[in-house]
Amino acid sequence: MNAGTANWVATLAQQHLDAAHNLGRWLLGNEQDAADAVHDAYVRAARSAATYAGGNARAWWLAIVRNCCLAKLSSRKRETPLRAVPDAEPGTLSEVEDGAHIAQCRTLLAEHLRALPTEYRETLVLRELEDLSYREIADVLGVPIGTVMSRLARGRALLQRALEPVAQEQDHGL
């Protein structure tokens, strides 16, 4: 590895560290595992920098991060237990004060996102939180663009359905 390559990997990793960590958090569910996976990915990226064949560098880096996360997931010997999401209770929501209501909606949103199957969750995270293009997401996940689109559509539909009781209760104008 020459100086240029090392610099390139370091620069790339630092530049997209938030994205890497965020993806790790949503895949692994906790900060420590996410940080470990990102660190693994950093070392692995440096080792395989020579295999980088051009193209979108952020997607290349996030693909490595994702692989490290999936490796960590399987080494846990079990899937992250999907947390049961309590249904919103329309009767009680109208009683809470407005700000608390919005905060509650956001917590709910996070819980529903967390409860989504991995393939929808990671696609939505890359699209909505990291603002990746379909092409970049396809590169990170190693799937065709058509698959990215159908996962986004399905993921969004699931989220919308999950949030419906809340939205009906009060339009909080977000």
Partner: protein
């Protein structure tokens, strides 16, 4: 084409991934179809909620420091003396990034999650979509007397249209574009090789001078266009942008 197909197109459209021609066709359909408009609004609302909910976990400083302090293992055959030097440079680069670029982008993301940022984001997306299209304008004309009437009937209020060819910013034409789910007039100018979009925003838009920012080499500048809030987006450098903003806001109304 039936509405079911349109529904699947709506997502690509909202994500800025629809080809220009398809987007145009969809927009024409949106004008007629309340059901699709409602679906687009729902998608838009979900997206805004997702992005506003603070769901993004930024990297903790401890991770940033840990990465910066990790020596990268040399591939077999690398020369030892160079590794030493690499380390120094790598560390310097990492530090610079952590406190420079990294810090700034985190800052932008964290501080700008409000309506301002959402709008700025939509404006950039719209601008980039137009750049990727075959033609960034729907009405091609350097004559403001052609462009202004063209907007009538397409948007609630025709914007003030002026030509600045003499000052080096010729009017190229105009288009109607969507910001999120909202239709706005866009005036298109050119300066040398730079394409300039002027988004005329609805009165009372959240955009403020505080939103002025650069993203991926493109700059956004807030300006008052004959009393209406407007946003200039272009890849011009700061000086050119400032000059154009001044022309736009100072020129006498005709």
């Amino acid at each position: 084409m039936d509405c079911n197909f349109r529904q699947t197109q709506l997502e690509a459209y909202l994500d800025g991934e629809l080809e220009r021609a398809d987007a145009r066709e969809l927009e024409a359909h949106l004008d007629d179809c309340a059901e699709c408009r409602a679906a687009l609004d729902r998608l838009d609302a979900l997206r805004r909620e997702l992005r506003a909910a603070g769901l993004r976990h930024t990297a903790p400083e401890s991770l940033r420091a840990r990465i910066a302090a990790t020596p990268l293992t040399a591939a077999p055959g690398a020369m030892a003396p160079r590794r030493m030097r690499d380390g120094v440079w790598r560390y310097a680069a990492a530090l610079l990034l952590a406190f420079g670029t990294g810090g700034v982008s985190v800052q932008m993301w964290n501080s700008a999650r409000g309506a301002d940022a959402m709008l700025a984001h939509d404006i950039y997306a719209s601008h980039w979509r137009a750049l990727a299209a075959t033609s960034p304008v729907d009405v091609v004309s350097s004559d403001r007397h052609t462009v202004k009437p063209w907007f009538a009937g397409k948007v609630a209020q025709s914007p003030t249209v002026r030509d600045f060819a003499d000052q080096g910013f010729p009017l190229v034409g105009g288009r109607v574009d969507y910001l999120g789910a909202q239709r706005v007039p866009v005036l298109v100018y050119r300066h040398g090789q730079h394409l300039i979009d002027v988004f005329v925003l609805p009165p009372g838009s959240a955009l403020s001078p505080a939103t002025n920012a650069r993203e991926a080499g493109y700059a956004l500048q807030f300006v008052a266009l004959d009393g209406a809030p407007a946003a200039i987006v272009s890849d011009m450098d700061a000086h050119e942008l400032a000059a154009f903003a001044q022309l736009l806001s100072k020129a006498p109304t005709s």
